[in-house]
Symmetry: C2
Subunit: 208 residues, 2 copies
């Protein structure tokens, strides 16, 4: 069965919320309260979960810990995953030290660049290596996903190196579309899009 992509991205949101609830010591939560927290209708949440089995009892809501573990399994988060970053500009360096990743089960293991000024340099205790060694190193270090923080003009070439090395998950920060084979999944992070929806609220409140 084909799972809609939107379902998968909503599952990440549910998972994050369940982590918050679990940290707060919440044992169970009604489907209504949970749906308000995540910002989707109860029917939507139920439908998303129904792809993977049955969760929650009518009238009892969700068991926080149980649902969290189930979603972790679905998303493949039961074990931590190794991630490489290609492009050690400011954004790459920031992501190499971003504390939110490790807490979510992602380990930034391998850093790459093509500039002699960056190769050999340490970022957060990790040495930046030559991207032309990507395939060998990614295999040795069991890298499963790659974050691309290269300039737009270098993006397609970097993606080709990553894809040729057998990586099937790419997180792209360049504001440019990437062409990849069908079996490779690219998520694009558009840092400006979040500002755009803020812009609406800022403009709206100004009119009051």
């Amino acid at each position: 069965m084909k799972i809609p992509e939107k379902t998968i991205s909503r599952l990440s949101i549910y998972y994050r919320q369940l982590q918050f609830l679990s940290q707060q010591g919440t044992f169970s939560i009604s489907s209504k309260s949970f749906s308000e927290l995540v910002g989707f209708k109860p029917e939507q949440v139920r439908k998303d979960l129904s792809y993977f089995g049955s969760f929650g009892k009518t009238g009892f809501g969700y068991n926080v810990q149980g649902l969290k573990l189930e979603i972790a399994k679905i998303l493949g988060l039961e074990r931590s995953k190794n991630v490489a970053i290609i492009g050690m500009g400011n954004l790459g360096a920031a992501l190499a030290g971003y504390r939110g990743f490790e807490a979510q089960g992602f380990k930034i293991t391998s850093l790459f660049d093509n500039s002699p000024h960056k190769i050999g340099k340490k970022y957060k205790g990790k040495i930046c290596r030559d991207v032309s060694d990507f395939a060998r190193i990614a295999k040795e270090e069991e890298v499963e996903m790659a974050i691309l923080t290269v300039p737009a003009e270098a993006l397609q070439e970097a993606a080709q190196i990553v894809v040729a090395a057998g990586i099937r998950g790419i997180l792209n920060f360049a504001p440019v579309h990437l062409k990849v084979p069908k079996n490779v999944k690219v998520n694009n992070v558009d840092l400006a899009s979040e500002l755009k929806s803020l812009s609406f609220f800022v403009s709206g409140t100004k009119r009051d």
Copy 2:
């Protein structure tokens, strides 16, 4: 009328797609093709747009340039907006130079930190100033939105400074929830959540 937040965030996606189409020289597009490009059902797109008037003729689709301008108006993007960044670590420095912002109508005008090592330092040609001068400088430089790239433990304090200065749009990069007054809008960027949905695909394809 209250516009759903999801509608606003979908409008940002429509806008970006219309920019791509416009750059490619596309004059008009069927509602079916447009809906496929943005990844939402035609009915959803139509409903989102219907909050703001009537767009597109049945059987004719959308006029790319016209719809783009209308959405720009709705989102308050007709004129460029000044944005401040608080927290000049790697992520702040990366965002100060992120080329995707300017192209979308956001101008990073003002940089702040509380560290004497950073105050006075230049990032991408802009001087980092003392965050304790935020209110005065934000007013002088007509800042309308703030990006917070401070460590989690400094987040709430930074937010208070920004809110006290009258800023009503905050983009938060710390993986922590922010408490703000009702008339202030916070968008949280969770850099790990994008990795999580990739994780599903990477795990899924491995099972093949």
